[in-house]
């Protein structure tokens, strides 16, 4: 490429995740999905996905059931607050400390 290529002479950014680093480290609590309550999980088909809709970080997957990308989840709790069946609970990060070490 060479350091004097035009794109190197300008502030030219290409897209990729994690501009803010591993934003999962911001969390003090993480969302946990109870599959026995979560509507798409129970029905086994596409439904609800309100958590997917409102996630500001786009870390909730539109899958059955939805999963959380903990690398980037900031633990805002909007998914838990908006879930119509209260299938998501925000759990203190401290309780996962040992788990994460493994």
């Amino acid at each position: 490429m060479g350091t004097r290529n035009y794109r190197r002479k300008t502030s030219h950014s290409e897209s990729g995740p994690g501009d803010g680093g591993r934003t999962g480290s911001w969390r003090v609590e993480r969302p946990v999905v109870d599959r026995s309550i979560c509507i798409p999980a129970r029905r086994g088909k596409e439904a609800c996905f309100i958590c997917w809709l409102f996630c500001p970080e786009i870390v909730v997957s539109r899958t059955i059931p939805p999963t959380i990308d903990l690398e980037y989840c900031k633990g805002c709790g909007i998914c838990a607050e908006e879930c119509p069946t209260k299938a998501i609970t925000m759990v203190d990060e401290a309780s996962f400390a040992d788990e994460d070490k493994e």
Binding site: S15, G18, W26, P56, D69, C76, M90
Partner: protein, 299 residues
């Protein structure tokens, strides 16, 4: 408006990467994500200094997957004009040009350029994301900060002046399309973006954006507070198409229900309004009730 979208009908494609520098629970992140879904891949963005500048990424990493031009604070709408002009000379009349500016960059420093672009009839969409203050630089007051709000510039007595009604200013430019939206109603936002594309000239969107650090609430309550703003009749969701105003989504439902949630619930949920007295809130409730009497009589 054409067919209403549902969560399941929304496109899956994402145009923003996770792991941005946006605050935890950022309302803009929600609106921006859905807005881009509606705009699609054939879009070029213009962004002035604002929360979005940071959300979009610091060099050399971009969180947005779409082409974007960062510009100076006052020049957002003029830059959009410039891109449109260049595309036109290249025979490109299909790429959408969309500007995303904050309330400060729209109602204060950016108003002149926006008015110029509106008057010129330049064919682009201008999104003002209104978190009611200069949040990126630390919660300073802007033209759209509501009266009574505590900000870094109005730390004890709250902002004395009223919130500037920017949608009304833009409607006065005789634009073919003006809309108000909210991060709490993303499907309404999606449908309005899709709907506006058929109209010529500049299209203006004013999106109400709950902001956890700026407004003073727990991040998890962002959507609830955004909803309260609408359900209290304080912030109304509407389209003004060729001069005709129509309420939409939850605001439209209020027309039928004829029952507004007391606005004190909205104010008391945010610490920035803690110096609003009961008398002041009563006064605001009266103004809201009067406004809605007007809506009811519109038929």
């Amino acid at each position: 408006m054409s067919a209403k979208s549902t969560i399941l009908s929304l496109p899956r494609e994402e145009y923003v990467h996770p792991g941005t520098r946006a605050c935890s629970g950022c309302g803009l992140a929600i609106a921006y994500r859905v807005g881009l879904k509606a705009l699609g891949e054939d879009t070029m963005l213009v962004v002035p200094p604002s929360c979005l500048t940071v959300l979009q990424g610091l060099f050399p990493v971009a969180a947005t997957k779409l082409p974007c031009l960062n510009v100076t604070f006052a020049s957002t709408a003029a830059a959009a004009t410039g891109i449109i002009a260049a595309l036109k000379t290249q025979g490109n009349d299909h790429t959408t040009v969309a500007a995303w500016a904050g309330d400060g960059g729209t109602s204060d420093i950016g108003l002149q350029a926006l008015s110029g672009a509106a008057e010129r009839g330049d064919n682009f969409i201008y999104f003002c994301y209104d978190n009611e203050g200069y949040m990126n630089t630390g919660v300073q007051r802007s033209g759209t900060t509501p009266a009574g709000a505590i900000t870094a510039n109005t730390p004890f007595r709250g902002k004395p002046q009223q919130k500037k009604d920017v949608p009304a200013i833009m409607a006065a430019h005789h634009l073919s399309y003006v809309a108000t939206c909210s991060a709490a109603y993303p499907l309404d936002l999606y449908d309005k973006v899709k709907n506006c594309l058929q109209y010529p000239g500049a299209k203006y969107f004013h999106i109400h954006i709950p902001c956890p650090p700026g407004w003073g609430y727990e991040p998890r309550h962002g959507i609830r507070i955004g909803r309260l703003a609408v359900e209290t009749g304080y912030f109304d969701l509407y389209e003004i198409i060729n001069g005709k105003l129509t309420l939409t989504a939850a605001s439209e439902k209020l027309l039928e229900k004829r029952k507004l949630v007391p606005v004190r619930e909205y104010f008391r949920a945010q610490s920035r309004f803690k110096v609003l007295t009961d008398e002041q809130i009563e006064e605001i409730q009266k103004q809201i009730d009067e406004k809605w009497e007007g809506y009811y009589s519109m038929g």
